[in-house]
């Protein structure tokens, strides 16, 4: 039997030291709403940080792996991506 199958269970294995403010920003929420039927960031983000909530994009930056995929993969270059402030963000214990 394999454990940690769902992304929620996988994220549970990761240690984060979350800042109080987000390092990820959707620049124009209207673009997600009107131009992007696929909401592709909600699919390829490896930490499921982006969740579409009916009319807006919820950004769960606290669980971000800081990989950069959303910045590169957003078809409308609509995500402003920075590293979290020094001392915050993902903490790799092993890998």
């Amino acid at each position: 039997m394999m454990k940690a199958q769902t992304i929620e269970e996988k994220q549970y294995l990761v240690r984060f030291n979350a800042d109080t403010k987000s390092h990820l920003h959707v620049l124009d929420p209207n673009i997600c709403l009107t131009k992007c039927p696929d909401k592709i960031c909600t699919i390829f983000c490896p930490a499921s940080v982006y969740k579409w909530e009916e009319v807006r994009m919820h950004v769960g930056y606290e669980g971000c792996h800081e990989c950069g995929s959303c910045r590169i993969g957003c078809p409308y270059e609509n995500i402003q991506w920075e590293y979290p402030r020094g001392g915050y963000g993902i903490v790799f214990r092993l890998g």
């Binding site: 394999m2 454990k3 199958q5 996988k10 490896p46 402030r85 214990r93 890998g95």
Partner: protein
């Protein structure tokens, strides 16, 4: 077996531990290590990089030469205009899990002597027709299992990277290797796989770019850490030379680019300059030909009373019409060309 003796061919490492150990080596040589600090931009004066601005109060740091080693995202080189934003087909998204497993079980299961390790590269069905590969590495008392595909492939196939990882973990060819293990960490990371054509400008006035930030990864051979370390060494050698002449201009530091291109890094990236893009552009290799080869091998080795000649004929027939066979032959020639 010579790989099991000094100087050893290569190592599997846990980066969280390795990076600290490696940084300590620099500190032993007199480096000052500043952690928990983000370098937010290069300080540019009169067209010359003279330092970095950090997110600490009064956090400006000045230097004769700044070596940009900020990894695949390479935000600082991008700010300097050394490259545009990477395209989704220039980066691979890899997800990985660290699985805890008893040391003796690992040694038994993978046929290892104590302190020996093994790497298994997983190619084909693991990425469901998307350009990419999977991997399974042994560590002392953990395994590292992961799968990476071009970000553009995930987007095109609308596939969740962690679903692909689960698929690999549960694949009947893989599952027995990791049976009984316990996931202890999950990680996601981009790998720069644009290759030769994506190498940005790597030297400017007072600045050099090394490692992932300069797209120095050989995706075909899974080499990257060695290229990062070697490019760092070449950068250091160039800076020592520049310091001797007190000249940190681009024309002086450009020696680094020349050394880089003459070394195995530049040569190997040149060898495979069109490989990834070829397999990305023509999806039939991963979508059709690999499964076709698997089917052919499976038929050939199935013992069912049919003669090998009959099997060969059937495999030949299954390749399709004469036109399709010509296309296949042409594609194989093209694959040889981009790999040779």
């Amino acid at each position: 077996m010579e790989w099991g003796r000094e100087p050893y061919n290569n190592f599997t490492v846990l980066r969280a531990k390795f990076d600290q150990w490696f940084a300590e080596k620099a500190v032993e040589q007199g480096a000052l290590l500043v952690c928990e600090t983000v370098a937010v931009e290069c300080i540019v004066e009169n067209g010359r990089v003279v330092g970095v601005r950090t997110d600490r109060p009064d956090g400006d740091i000045y230097a004769d030469v700044v070596v940009l080693a900020d990894g695949v995202n390479s935000l600082l080189a991008k700010q300097l205009g050394f490259h545009r934003e990477w395209r989704p087909d220039e980066v691979a998204l890899a997800t990985m899990e660290i699985l805890k497993l008893d040391k003796t079980v690992i040694e038994d299961r993978f046929n290892l002597e104590p302190n020996q390790g093994c790497t298994i590269e997983i190619f084909g069905d693991a990425t469901k027709g998307i350009v990419g590969t999977g991997f399974l590495y042994t560590n002392k008392d953990t395994l590292s299992i992961g799968v990476g595909t071009l970000l553009s492939g995930l987007i095109k196939h609308k596939m969740k990277p962690y679903d692909l990882l689960e698929y690999v973990k549960n694949h009947p060819m893989i599952r027995p290797y990791i049976q009984g293990s316990e996931p202890v960490e999950y990680l996601a990371h981009l790998i720069p796989e644009g290759g030769y054509h994506s190498i940005p400008k790597v030297a400017g006035n007072g600045v050099l770019v090394v490692g992932d930030a300069a797209q120095l990864v050989n995706a075909i051979h899974r080499e990257g850490s060695n290229m990062a370390m070697t490019s760092g060494r070449l950068a250091a050698e160039t800076i020592i030379m520049a310091k001797a002449q007190n000249d940190f201009s681009e024309s002086m530091l450009d020696q680094y680019r020349m050394k880089l291109m003459e070394s195995f890094i530049g040569q190997d990236l040149k060898k495979y300059k069109d490989a990834t893009h070829h397999f990305e552009r023509f999806p039939q290799y991963f979508e059709q030909y690999i499964p076709m080869m698997n089917r052919a091998a499976s038929q050939m080795f199935t013992v069912d009373g049919a003669s090998k000649w009959e099997k060969q004929k059937k495999i030949w027939r299954d390749l399709g019409s004469t036109k399709q066979k010509f296309k296949l032959a042409r594609d194989m020639m093209k694959a040889w060309k981009v790999m040779k």
